[in-house]
């Protein structure tokens, strides 16, 4: 991944602009995201860039806080999925017989479970906290990574140089760290990156359903609050109350997903180049 394609660069740039916009809102914008700073339901103005909500809390500040909370959930879930999926994938790829069958079954199980209903049930059962959300989201994100990785490890482990390394007395830990990691890491990173976007959407969904931490500032919660305002569509408020979080969500997730797709493409191309060389 030495050279990004122009598309990848554009996407990365767009995401950075978005992040910068929210960083400003979170760190330098004068209004608080928690306390009222103006009148109720004010229109966008120079004082309140995106107006205020029904309690008079600044919407731009809330949106920015939502970015951090959503990103934190997404990154944490991705990190968990990275570790869990990587470990399970490598173990399943290296093992054979019963162990492999068991791990593969587990992976298949998590792949085929209907996610949202189960998430709703678990979320309702375990209560509403940010960590629970992260746990639930990562629980449903590791399986695809593990599946891809397992296939990859199985493909690599049949190569003559690995058979030789094994014959020289190399143990599983050595084989993975010395011979496989170089190839697995890009795959793992790209897969984990795509989890970030997915996790943000899933967190928003759970928040929208009221299963998220009610004190957090996530975009899903923001949307849920706005939609539950009686008669919102008969007022002009939805234009600055509802649209910004929806756009923020869509834009952020779109950037992340497209970027990870792009990285995957680049990585695959490099791989086939290396194989063809």
């Amino acid at each position: 991944m030495k050279s990004f394609s122009p598309q990848a660069k554009t996407l990365l740039f767009a995401f950075l602009l978005l992040a910068l916009f929210f960083v400003y809102g979170g760190l330098f914008y004068p209004h608080s995201a928690d306390l009222p700073s103006g009148g109720s339901l004010e229109e966008p103005s120079s004082a309140h860039w995106l107006g205020t909500d029904d309690l008079g809390v600044d919407l731009y500040a809330q949106l920015s806080a939502g970015f951090f909370s959503s990103m934190a959930v997404g990154l944490a879930a991705a990190a968990f999925a990275f570790l869990l999926g990587g470990l399970a994938g490598v173990l399943a790829g290296l093992s054979s017989g019963t162990a492999d069958a068991f791990l593969s079954f587990l992976i298949q199980l998590f792949l085929s479970l209907p996610q949202l209903p189960v998430m709703v049930v678990i979320g309702a059962f375990f209560g509403q906290s940010a960590w629970n959300i992260i746990l639930i989201v990562s629980l449903f994100s590791w399986a695809p990574i593990a599946k891809v990785l397992r296939a990859r490890v199985r493909q690599i482990r049949g190569r003559p140089y690995l058979r030789l390394a094994k014959s020289y007395g190399g143990r599983a830990g050595y084989l993975v760290s010395a011979h496989m990691l170089g190839e697995l890491l890009p795959l793992l990173s790209v897969s984990a990156l795509s989890v970030v976007g997915k996790a943000i959407v899933q967190e928003a969904s759970l928040a929208y359903l009221g299963l998220s931490d009610p004190l957090s500032r996530s975009w899903g919660l923001l949307i849920q609050k706005c939609v539950s305002f009686p008669g919102i569509y008969f007022t002009p408020y939805w234009k600055w109350w509802l649209l910004p979080p929806v756009f923020a969500l869509v834009l952020t997730v779109l950037c992340l997903r497209l970027f990870s797709r792009e990285l995957e493409t680049i990585w695959r191309r490099e791989e086939s180049d290396a194989a063809g060389a």
């Binding site: 014959s167 007395g169 011979h179 170089g182």
Partner: protein, 542 residues
């Protein structure tokens, strides 16, 4: 029947040490026994001891040499004089210098004939003898200086058989002859032997001559009999490493193969086996104790003087079978690889060469059969990861190397995993051995940036760092240009000669196989067939 000559524990001691260890052998009437060995192996000492020709008395001869039951060693000079020429005679090397230049051939032949025959028979007998050996009666009046080397040789033989002795000792009869004369000499000696029924004791280092003439053979090294047996069997399947070395160094016996002398001694032989320092399979016992000449295991006609029972069988596959998807690739294949030898496996593509090699190297498990490494069921897991075990070089060297590794990392890998102490020094030495630069520049280069030929050599170097006793190489030269191929094959063979490892080489290159391999097998329709020398010659020439 009483043997013509029976040598019992004959030994010769020079003041500076033994020249001939106790030697025993016997020759029957009408039989030819060849004694072969390098120069300095004690061949001529043996002749002198048998014929009691030691002019100086400081050589102490003990043991017995019974000629028709009469001991020559203890016989006095007077008795010996009576026996010489009548019951035994010697044809010395350098024929021309053994003749008196001032006497005609007639005079010299009469000197012999007068020992037994009345004066009246001399001219007739002399003429008949000369015609018998292919000279004309007119040559009798010539002087030795006007004879060619071959003629002088024949004349000396005429003198030696003139009195129909029971034993004729031929000391290096071919040393002064050109090749055509050698063939004529063999025919002549055979005829003489048939007519007179005499026995020949042939002393020579010319293996082809010995092969053509002798029935049995004794291999001498530093005054010790290393191996004895029937000539053909001994030359076709030597059991002692020294014998094999001699054969490998004989251009006449190995018309197709490269010549390799026996390696010089790496350590001086002490009390133990005299061949210890030059032997590539010597063990601790060989240093300490001299071996005895014993019957070779599984071969009643052969005597071999080796603690390890002769050349060790390094790898043996018995009744190996393998199927892929219901199709039989190998059926009941058995193959032996001895220590220090190269076995080549040839065959059309798809004939199962690689399958067999992988099975024998432990990278594929057979459906049937067993594999023994030095007599024990092969424990491949430990053989692969220990020094002096078994290493395999795969055909596709590119896939056998991690492209992300540096050359140094790749070649060091087995040593590192086996926790060898001087791993990097070994690796660099191995790189130089296979003709790759051992410097840092190459060491740090990524494997993916190497050429096909370099990768192939890298794989070989990697295998050699473990100093394997058996190297299985699948098409080790397929990626190389002819010059590199020649270098690499010579290098492998040279390393083998010096280190004594065995090699099983899979190849489709018959010419190369014939050059480096002691034995060549062809895999066809799942079965194995050994190609004989004649077949190889025919294939090699076509």
């Amino acid at each position: 029947m009483q043997p013509v000559l029976e040598v019992q524990n004959l030994s010769v001691e020079y003041p500076d040490g033994f020249a001939l260890h106790p030697v025993s052998f016997s020759i029957a009437a009408g039989e030819t026994l060849a004694v072969i060995g390098e120069s300095g192996s004690g061949k001529t000492t043996l002749v002198r001891a048998v014929a009691d020709l030691f002019s100086c008395r400081w050589a102490r001869v003990s043991g017995k040499a019974l000629l028709e039951g009469e001991d020559l060693v203890s016989a006095g000079e007077k008795r010996l004089r009576q026996l010489r020429m009548r019951r035994f005679s010697v044809v010395f090397q350098n024929a021309a210098s053994m003749l008196n230049p001032a006497m005609t051939l007639r005079a010299q032949l009469y000197e012999v004939l007068k020992k037994q025959f009345p004066r009246g028979e001399w001219p007739q007998r002399a003429e008949r003898l000369l015609e018998r050996i292919g000279l004309s009666a007119g040559d009798l009046d010539r002087f030795p200086r006007s004879l060619s080397g071959g003629m002088a040789q024949r004349f000396l033989i005429a003198c030696a058989v003139a009195l129909s002795p029971a034993l004729v000792i031929l000391d290096e009869p071919t040393s002064a002859l050109d090749p055509g004369a050698g063939a004529g000499l063999i025919a002549l000696l055979r005829e003489l032997q048939q007519e007179t029924g005499c026995a020949f004791l042939l002393i020579t280092h010319d293996l082809a001559f010995a092969r053509a003439l002798s029935d049995r053979m004794v291999v001498l090294y530093r005054g010790q009999v290393e191996e004895a047996g029937e000539t053909r069997a001994l030359l076709d399947a030597p059991r002692h490493p020294y014998t094999r070395g001699l054969i490998g160094a004989s251009a006449e016996l190995m018309p197709l193969r490269d010549l390799w002398g026996i390696r010089p001694a790496v350590e001086e032989a002490g009390r133990g086996c005299p061949f210890f320092g030059r032997c590539t399979q010597s063990a601790g016992l060989c240093r300490e104790e001299p071996p005895a000449l014993l019957q070779a295991p599984g071969d009643p006609g052969r005597l071999v003087c080796c603690h390890r029972g002769g050349i060790v069988t390094r790898l043996e596959g018995r009744g190996i079978g393998k199927q892929f998807g219901g199709q039989t690739v190998l059926h009941d294949v058995s193959l032996r690889v001895q220590s220090g030898e190269t076995v080549a496996l040839i065959g059309a593509s798809g004939s199962g060469k690689t399958t067999l090699a992988s099975i024998l190297a432990g990278f594929l498990s057979p459906d049937a059969g067993e594999i023994l490494f030095e007599g024990e069921p092969a424990d491949f897991a430990s053989l692969h990861r220990t020094e002096g075990g078994l290493q395999m070089v795969f055909q596709d060297s590119e896939s056998a190397l991690n492209p992300a590794f540096s050359a140094g990392q790749a070649v060091c890998e087995p040593g590192n995993l086996a926790r060898l102490s001087d791993c990097e020094a070994r690796a660099r030495a191995a790189l130089r051995e296979v003709g790759l630069p051992g410097g840092d520049d190459f060491w740090n280069r990524r494997v993916s940036h190497l050429s096909g030929g370099q990768m192939q050599r890298l794989c070989l170097a990697r295998a050699l760092t473990m100093a394997p006793r058996l190297l299985v190489a699948d098409e080790p030269t397929s990626m190389l240009d002819p010059s590199s191929r020649a270098n690499l094959l010579r290098l492998l063979k040279g390393l083998q000669n010096a280190r004594g490892f065995s090699m099983l080489m899979v190849t489709h290159d018959l010419a190369a196989a014939a050059k480096v391999a002691e034995r060549v097998f062809r895999l066809e329709a799942g079965g194995l067939a050994e190609l004989g020398r004649e077949e190889l010659l025919a294939l090699g020439l076509s």
